[in-house]
Symmetry: C2
Subunit: 206 residues, 2 copies
DNA sequence: GGCCTAAATTAACAGTGTTAAGTAAGTGAG
DNA sequence: CTCACTTACTTAACACTGTTAATTTAGGCC
């Protein structure tokens, strides 16, 4: 009776092997520059085998991105449970988000910079960005804390969170797509954006 | 001798016809969902004819985007020459940028949200974003004015401009790619982002 | 050993951007 | 008027792409 289980284990293994091969190629060359045939070559299976494990190329990509973004969640949750000044915690979270995006440009691009492909009723509309929504929840909680501590001008946590997300996404995505633009020193830019945004939300103390 | 000129005129006309057809299709369905063959069908020429006028699909796209972005330049330059409070002028310019992006999502996506395709020595590296660089110059000049008027905390115009651009690009691109996210009221969001960013740069007056 | 199911493969389709070779038309010279 | 030549355009083809249907291969069970 262990046969069935061994089979399942093997299936899971091959599935992971596909994910790993595809991920490596995507990271190196970008989603749209990697064909199903090349992934198949790498794992030494026929191209169509991949379709036994993933519905299509998009689902394969999605699985990979979810894998990657779970790492971001880990980082963010660690930051969230740290004690101390909520503003400092917020800033640390924002920076972590940006840095994560810059470390994983292709994954970031796929999940946040690619339009949802038209057919998006019900599940499709919520699932592809579930990683993003989770990350956004972390952000919102940080913002709640800041508001609760009376640090912010407005009590509208939703607006503040979305504003912050927009700012974060802006730097991250611009640095990814326009890496050859004459940016100021990267560290200064990142801190500049984070500090400006948070300062803009904060109450002018003194 | 007028023959040569008539021919040139006809060539220019067909070139424009290609641009128009392609632009319309791109706007409606997005760059990657429109094939050269479909563009050719629409103007009732063979697909390869397009290649007599444009080096490849990318150059065709680039021409279209430049056409579109020149409209943005016009809007921005009008705002720039308005007299009055430099802060108000800056805010108006930022909003115009965002609104333009939202009005032309496909063009915006193509010029600002698509990575430069690897081969980018010398010209390639500066040309594709020349539209963007021009727009950025407008922004920088607005920022200069604000600094000159003593409105900003820091005197670093470059950092301030890049920070602002990042913020603008963030809202714009997120609204384009994630239009189904539960955003707060759009107008409030846009003003929220603009106000927060500018407030974050401004000196805390009282 | 034969059967059956599951997994993986081959072949094919319809489409893509792009290039090389070929064709038709209109101009200028003899 | 005719021949050569240039220019504009088309046809055919290449090397890909994601994906599907039909087929083959392999492994466990009776």
């Amino acid at each position: 009776m262990g046969v069935r289980e061994r089979r399942a284990r093997e299936k899971r293994y091959l599935r992971q092997e596909i994910l790993d091969a595809a991920s490596e190629l995507f990271v190196k060359e970008g989603f749209e520059n990697v064909s199903m045939r090349r992934i198949a070559d790498r794992i030494e299976y026929s191209p169509t085998t991949i379709y036994l494990y993933f519905k299509d190329k998009a689902e394969l990509l999605e699985s990979i991105c979810q894998e990657t973004f779970s790492k971001l969640m880990q980082r963010l949750s660690k930051i969230l449970e740290q004690p101390g000044d909520p503003i400092a915690r917020l800033k640390r979270g924002l920076l972590a988000y940006i840095e994560f995006g810059l470390e994983n440009p292709h994954h970031y691009r796929s999940t946040f910079m690619t339009p949802i492909p038209e057919g998006f009723d019900a599940e499709k509309y919520i699932k592809p960005e579930s990683a993003g929504i989770q990350a956004f929840d972390f952000l919102r909680r940080c913002v709640y804390d800041c508001i609760a501590a009376g640090k912010f001008k407005s009590k509208d946590a939703e607006l503040a969170s979305q504003t912050l997300w927009a700012g974060m996404h802006g730097v991250t995505s611009l640095l990814i797509t326009h890496s050859h633009f004459p940016w100021v020193d990267r560290k200064r830019l990142l801190h500049g954006v984070v500090d400006t945004l948070v300062a803009g939300l904060q109450v002018h103390e003194e």
